[in-house]
């Protein structure tokens, strides 16, 4: 801790705004650079520095005044419910764009190690996405901000309190004039209450909301169409036909889990003969939704409006006159219109939130005409606190420009990086006399602020937030804050200095009025509150559906579609780092992106024909120019990309993300425009003549004609249940057959339901202590993921079919790997598992050479030994951390099998179905993975394996894989077959 300055000395620095009008003194910035200028450090060096930072963390938590005991004493009496070696689970939530993602957090002796979905929560029913799974690593990120900083120097919360007191005095005098708050989307009732309170106390203060991705245009469309602030929810579980116009329903985002769950239940029902599940997609750039679609039309983003109008014209929904369509568009629209028409009230037209509000409005009208409102498209009051006119970032910029902003509090936002570059927000920001940044990281914005206050991670703080359906979800800490951090609620409470400043009390205060209404005496209220905490959410708080009347006609004319000549740019959040907020998460950086299988980098996606025209190959650096801006990015020839559309991904090119994320990729915000956030026209793209190596995990796009991905038409499936897919009768074997008994652990993976979302990959990584190896190693083919998702294209590259295929270990009954090992390090275990004995392995790698599926991973270097203490804290104590020179692979989460079997033995009963759930199955938002005992005909996995769609991968080799697949089902007309 630095010596405390006399209060006056440092208070004066911000009380004299004119001194600072020119921005932070260079020296302060230099100090920041010194403290955080770690982008030069190698990623391996990160790990070394981590050790030092933990020491700091330990010091800070020792001195935490909120700890009632103050000293650490080993257990004398074992705490109630705390059984060493037995994990405890807490229901809480992680946040994405302010929306609660309900989770259960597994903790071992006070360390959160793994995140699961909350199966009781109405959203997602236990499914997760990659961001949720990775939140636990973010908690332990050694680059997280650990102390208060003032002008680049370490300060204390005492300093903050003093500064706030002074600020409060000034604001009380002026009624809050000059105070502005900037946050992301706010769904938290507590935060909303605090903002209201702040507004009430200082009426002149203003709150601004800014989400770099968000869905501002969706809100505008809803307001224009219905004349009210609303939120739209897709009920995919009820939608027999979905026509998605540039809407990535199944793609990453706050609603991914909910949509995936809904779509999967509809898909299952449809295969069981209950109605249909048809997905028709028109989109400029390939998405997971497009990959799952029965018909997909690649079309420029600017043509989506024309398609919507054409649909509206065919379905007599009003609006603009039917536009001129190409033959392909015409056919697609005709098919979509027919499908929509035939499914009145159970169809859905979903227009992407990236599309102009007028186009989205056409979609809303179409749903109204088709009777889908209230059925598949549910409207509610807004879930997030609405950002009214004058509350957006543009208004804030204007206010700064006119000198109306004296104090700016930035709560968990990073506009220096995420604001469109033409707004020159960093320069504007430096005109604000007093700037305070509250965030998890001392990021780009923190570097330009006088104060940086470290924020607690959601997993270590009290809070509340609404899930995407509005259900109030409670956040409770799963660990004491690792560093001297406060939650956003606590910071606001500190600023307001009213009521409690402790997180729990603040949140509880919000709900006290409700609790008063729900129960009478305090004991009952406490019991109720505890039940909410146990469940992780407050039941029946989902927002009620509303049936508002139409308030207007769709626009009569849409903006002109571009000519064939111009190139358009569309922006998309990155599937792995979103808007850049996850850039410092090594798991997510190393996660292969669903379609490109690219890691540690970002690309500009170009279509095959554009690439051919411009002589561009994957990996070539291209200069993308739009208006006055331009940037250089590696090109990626992306099959299925609309012909003249270039996709740029947000979230990379960070300069102060931390040691993992800084300096990776290009920054697409440099080209983005406030008025055209998602689409730019008349862009140009030209090869710059050089190329860069890209680290991908899959180099071949097709199955090369082998029957790896199999499909069956729904018609065939329904006509003849025995139609698919066993190759030849099983060959005889000299060796004893498995299963020899009960249980026979086995897995079945439904390729038809796999949307390629990657949740399982990160879940596996978190559960099994799978190390991160870095870009160079991935480029060298040394990624360590035990579970990979193969992506295969079939058909023409202009518009191919796309299939995802998760590949864990096959646990072959006749395992080729076991024959090869000279030291018995990979052997067949009880239950038919192909087991890996790490401490016996001498690393001949014969097992991997012999493995036809290449699912084995080798520790080429010591990938684990030099990990920081924080990152070590994440590790699952039930799973061995592997040493250098040792082979590893998927174990079917043997530690979970073992835990269940111990429990069953204690209770003298067999292991029940569903008692062992491997991490991948648990994470899957569509339940595409099923695990269980195949020796018992009653288990779900046995039922899956009875399916006529079942097939084994490379079955002809006689490996008898325990992991089998269910063939993909094609609905509608088959697309390009391989």
């Amino acid at each position: 801790m630095p010596p405390l300055n006399p209060p006056g000395a440092w208070v004066r620095t911000w009380r004299s705004p004119e001194e600072l009008a020119g921005g932070l003194p260079d020296t302060a910035l230099a100090e920041f650079a010194e403290a955080f200028g770690v982008t030069e450090a190698s990623r391996r060096q990160v790990l070394k520095i981590m050790a030092a930072s933990l020491a700091l963390g330990a010091v800070s938590s020792c001195g935490d005044a909120s700890d009632p005991s103050g000293v650490a004493v080993p257990y004398v009496n074992q705490p109630e419910q705390q059984i060493p070696g037995r994990p405890r689970y807490y229901a809480t939530a992680t946040l994405l764009e302010g929306f609660a993602q309900p989770v259960l957090v597994e903790t071992h002796e006070g360390r959160p190690t793994k995140i699961e979905g909350n199966p009781d929560h109405p959203v997602g029913r236990g499914g997760t996405d990659a961001f949720i799974q990775a939140a636990v690593l973010q908690l332990y990120d050694p680059d997280r901000s650990q102390t208060v900083q003032h002008l680049g120097r370490i300060a204390t919360w005492g300093h903050v309190e003093a500064a706030f007191a002074d600020l409060r005095r000034r604001l009380d005098e002026t009624g809050g004039a000059g105070l502005r708050l900037l946050t992301g989307d706010v769904t938290s009732p507590t935060l909303s209450r605090q903002l209201d309170r702040l507004q009430a106390r200082w009426p002149q203060a203003r709150w601004h909301g800014f989400e770099p991705v968000g869905s501002d245009l969706r809100h505008t469309a809803l307001r224009q169409t219905f004349g009210a602030r609303l939120a739209a929810h897709y009920a995919l579980e009820r939608a027999h036909v979905v026509v998605a116009l540039d809407e990535d329903l199944l793609g990453p985002g706050p609603a991914q889990v909910r949509h995936a769950d809904g779509w999967a239940s509809r898909r299952r029902a449809a295969l069981a003969g209950d109605g249909a599940c048809r997905l028709m997609v028109a989109e400029p750039t390939p998405t997971l939704t497009g990959a799952m679609a029965e018909s997909r039309l690649p079309v420029s983003a600017a043509r989506i409006g024309a398609l919507a109008s054409a649909l509206a014209a065919r379905l007599r929904s009003g609006g603009a006159a039917a536009p001129q369509l190409s033959l392909g568009e015409e056919a697609w629209v005709a098919a979509a219109a027919q499908a929509l028409q035939e499914n009145h009230g159970r169809a859905l037209v979903a227009v992407g939130a990236h599309q102009p509000a007028e186009v989205q409005a056409i979609g809303l009208h179409l749903n109204q005409t088709l009777g889908n409102l209230g059925a598949t498209l549910v409207l509610t009051d807004p879930v997030a606190r609405p950002v009214a006119e004058g509350q957006d970032l543009l208004a804030l910029s204007a206010a700064i420009g006119t000198g109306d902003v004296e104090t700016l509090l930035l709560l968990d936002v990073n506009p220096t990086y995420t604001a469109p570059a033409h707004m020159a927000f960093p320069q504007l920001l430096q005109q604000v006399p007093l700037r305070l940044h509250v965030g998890l990281f001392a990021d780009e914005t923190a570097a330009l602020c006088h104060w940086h206050l470290p924020l607690s991670h959601p997993l270590e703080s009290w809070g509340d937030a609404r899930a995407v359906d509005g259900t109030v979800t409670l956040l409770q800490p799963t660990v004491r804050p690792l560093y001297e951090t406060r939650s956003g609620h606590e910071v606001l409470a500190l600023l307001l200095a009213e009521g409690p400043t402790d997180g729990l009390a603040i949140v509880r205060d919000t709900w006290q009025t409700h609790l008063d209404g729900w129960a009478d005496d305090p004991a009952a209220q406490e019991e109720l509150w505890r039940s909410f905490l146990r469940a992780g959410f407050i039941p029946d708080t989902a927002l009620q559906a509303r049936r508002p009347a139409l308030a207007g006609e769709p626009a009569a004319a849409l903006p002109e579609s571009p000519g064939a000549e111009g190139i358009e740019i569309v922006f998309r959040p990155d599937p792995c780092v979103w808007d850049g907020r996850f850039a410092n998460c090594a798991w997510l950086q190393e996660l292969p992106k669903p379609l490109t299988k690219l890691t540690w980098d970002t690309i500009a996606a170009v279509s095959p024909s554009l690439a051919a025209d411009g002589n561009i190959r994957t990996g070539d650096l291209v200069r993308v120019t739009a208006g006055t801006g331009s940037l250089e990015a590696p090109a990626w020839v992306l099959p299925g990309q609309a012909e003249r559309t270039v996709t740029l991904y947000l979230g990379y090119g960070r300069t102060r993300a931390g040691r993992v994320g800084s300096g990776v990729g290009y920054d697409a915000y440099r080209l983005r425009r406030w008025d055209q956030p998602w689409m730019l026209r008349d862009a140009a793209i030209s090869p710059s003549g050089s190329a860069v190596p890209l680290a991908t995990t899959q180099h071949h796009d097709t199955t090369a004609g082998h029957p790896i991905v199999r499909t069956v038409a729904l018609r065939e499936l329904q006509a003849d249940a025995g139609a698919v897919h066993h190759e030849a009768p099983r060959q005889p074997s000299l060796y004893r057959p498995w299963p020899e008994g009960d249980p026979a652990w086995a897995m079945s993976i439904d390729v038809d339901l796999c949307i390629g979302c990657n949740a399982c990959v990160i879940a596996c990584q978190a559960e099994n202590n799978v190390p991160v190896v870095g870009r160079e190693q991935v480029a060298g083919g040394r990624e360590m993921h035990w579970l990979r998702i193969d992506r295969y294209y079939n058909g023409p590259p202009e518009n191919p079919g796309t299939t995802f295929m998760p590949i864990p270990c096959m646990h072959c009954e006749k395992a080729p790997c076991e024959v090869g090992c000279p030291v018995n390090a990979t052997v067949h275990g009880n239950g038919g598992l192909n087991e890996m004995v790490y401490n016996r392995c001498i690393g001949t790698r014969t097992c991997s050479s012999y493995c036809p599926y290449k699912v084995r991973r080798f520790n080429w270097f010591d990938f684990t030994g030099d990990a920081s203490p924080q990152v070590r804290a994440q590790r699952n104590p039930d799973v061995t951390v592997r040493a250098r020179g040792v082979m590893e692979k998927c174990t079917y989460c043997i530690q979970r099998i073992s835990a269940a079997s111990r429990q069953a033995r204690v209770e003298n009963r067999p292991i029940g179905d569903g008692e062992v759930v491997p991490a991948c199955q648990q994470a899957c938002p569509t339940t595409a993975i099923m695990f269980g005992n195949a020796a018992d005909a009653g288990t779900r996995v046995s039922q899956w394996k009875q399916s006529s769609r079942e097939y084994g991968l490379l079955e002809h080799l006689g490996t008898r894989p325990r992991t089998t697949y269910l063939a993909r089902v094609t609905t509608g007309e088959p697309r390009g077959e391989s």
């Binding site: 180099h699 083919g781 040394r782 193969d790 030291v823 036809p852 290449k854 080798f858 520790n859 020179g885």
Partner: protein
């Protein structure tokens, strides 16, 4: 004494003499002089320094590997076997010829072996030593290599005897032990010769100890001959077992391009081919360097050339059959591997192997070429490179694209792999230079035996 290229005299086998007839003493003198009064000592020192430096590179490469881990090589998933295994197979193949020349031809009583067997055996021992390094440094955790051996241990775990690697664990050390024994046994009478002719004290002691008290009594000779023959008979099947074991290392895996029953004979033939190529090279060099053309005659080179040609043609047959089988199987994956070999990114290794191993030997159909030392040397060098390329091709092309296209990947050896290969070649030369300096590189008494036979047959022919 007739010149080496004198017209053929009548011989029971219809041959010219293998070694020109001369006095036993002159043979003894010439060979022991190389050891006791070494010529070209300056060149020898240059050679030993260069090869010593390369051996240092080997130590450095292995040291770096042990410090940093297997990742310093270019291997990955799917190609997780590196040059280490390729070099191992290559070296062990080179090591086959010594045993074959010495043991098989001893048993078959082919007298022409007697000028070649000593340095061929030395080559075998050194090549097996070079080969033996690689399986150990190939391991992810080399310090646990002893787990490969079945010894009573507290872990209570035995090796896994179904693994072809385990078969190698038995085959290679046994082969090494038998090769060393055979070599040393053959050296004993010559050690006695050196001991008796040495003037320096250290040499008398050194060779005296190695001679094990050999006095050349008839009893000694009788016992010695019995043991020598016995070990020779043991050695021949070991050549088969070692190279079958090496082949099965690949063939047991279900990888297309590996999973083939042709592999064991294919590897044995390749090994003999490669081994003879290196013997031919060494013979040419030694003959030239030490003026041994009266001991290693053009007749020897002619025979070596013929063996090279015969085994090379057999190797060519294996290439054809391998390709034919892949095509004829109808298996898509096998055919794809064949295709990858022919036109994939490693096609240079496939066509290089064919050009070197099948193409270059065609020149040996001409007797003049076989009897031209430097053409034979060139063919030997080309085929040695070719066999390395063949090992590379056989190991890498099936692995880099096996079954699932999603796991295809490429492999390029890293600097440290090449430096290890170069270092192992350095080690080989280092050991070989020590051998030519301190031990008789040609078997004195066995050449004398040949000369005795030649004398007798001349006498018979002249009668």
């Amino acid at each position: 004494m007739p010149p080496a290229d004198a017209p053929a005299i009548q011989h029971p086998m219809g041959r010219r003499p293998i070694v020109p007839v001369r006095s036993f003493a002159s043979i003894n003198e010439q060979i022991t002089a190389i050891t006791l009064h070494p010529p070209y000592l300056r060149n020898w020192w240059i050679g030993i320094l260069i090869s010593g430096a390369l051996t240092g590179l080997l130590v450095l490469s292995i040291g770096w590997l042990f410090i940093r881990g297997g990742g310093v090589w270019g291997i990955n998933i799917p190609v997780n076997w590196s040059l280490a295994i390729i070099n191992y197979v290559w070296w062990i193949a080179i090591g086959s010829a010594g045993t074959l020349i010495s043991a098989l031809l001893l048993v078959l009583e082919e007298p022409w072996r007697n000028s070649l067997n000593r340095f061929a055996e030395a080559m075998t021992v050194f090549a097996v030593i070079c080969a033996g390094i690689f399986p150990i440094i190939h391991l992810g955790r080399p310090f646990f290599f002893l787990w490969l051996f079945p010894y009573p241990n507290v872990l209570g775990v035995w090796p896994q005897f179904k693994s072809p690697l385990e078969w190698d664990v038995f085959a290679v050390p046994v082969y090494l032990v038998v090769s060393v024994l055979f070599w040393y046994l053959g050296l004993i009478p010559d050690m006695a010769s050196l001991r008796d002719r040495a003037t320096a004290r250290w040499a008398q002691v050194f060779y005296g100890l190695l001679a094990l008290g050999w006095r050349g009594s008839v009893t000694h000779w009788a016992r010695w001959r019995r043991v020598y023959r016995l070990i020779a008979i043991l050695g021949v099947p070991l050549v088969i077992s070692v190279h079958s074991g090496v082949a099965l290392l690949y063939a047991v895996g279900q990888i297309p391009g590996w999973h083939s029953t042709i592999f064991p004979p294919f590897f044995i033939i390749g090994a003999v081919f490669n081994g003879f190529a290196v013997v031919a090279m060494i013979a040419v060099v030694l003959r030239h360097a030490f003026g041994l053309d009266q001991l290693v005659t053009l007749r020897h080179l002619d025979i070596l050339g013929m063996v090279l040609l015969a085994t090379g043609v057999a190797v060519g047959y294996c290439y054809v059959m391998e390709a034919f089988t892949a095509w004829y199987s109808g298996d898509l994956y096998e055919r794809q591997t064949l295709w990858d070999r022919a036109v994939g990114i490693y096609a240079w290794s496939y066509w290089g192997a064919i050009a070197c191993n099948v193409g270059s030997i065609q020149v040996l159909w001409w007797p003049a070429a076989r009897r031209s030392p430097w053409i034979l040397f060139a063919v030997g060098a080309i085929t040695t490179v070719g066999m390395w390329l063949e090992r590379f091709m056989l190991q890498t092309t099936p692995l880099y694209q096996d079954f699932l296209p999603s796991s295809y990947g490429v492999y390029w050896p890293s600097f440290w792999e090449y430096s290890t290969l170069l270092g192992s070649i350095g080690l080989f030369f280092f050991l070989f230079l020590l051998f030519v300096r301190f031990l008789p590189m040609i078997s004195i008494f066995e050449v004398a035996e040949v000369v005795k036979d030649e004398r007798r047959s001349q006498a018979e022919g002249g009668r």
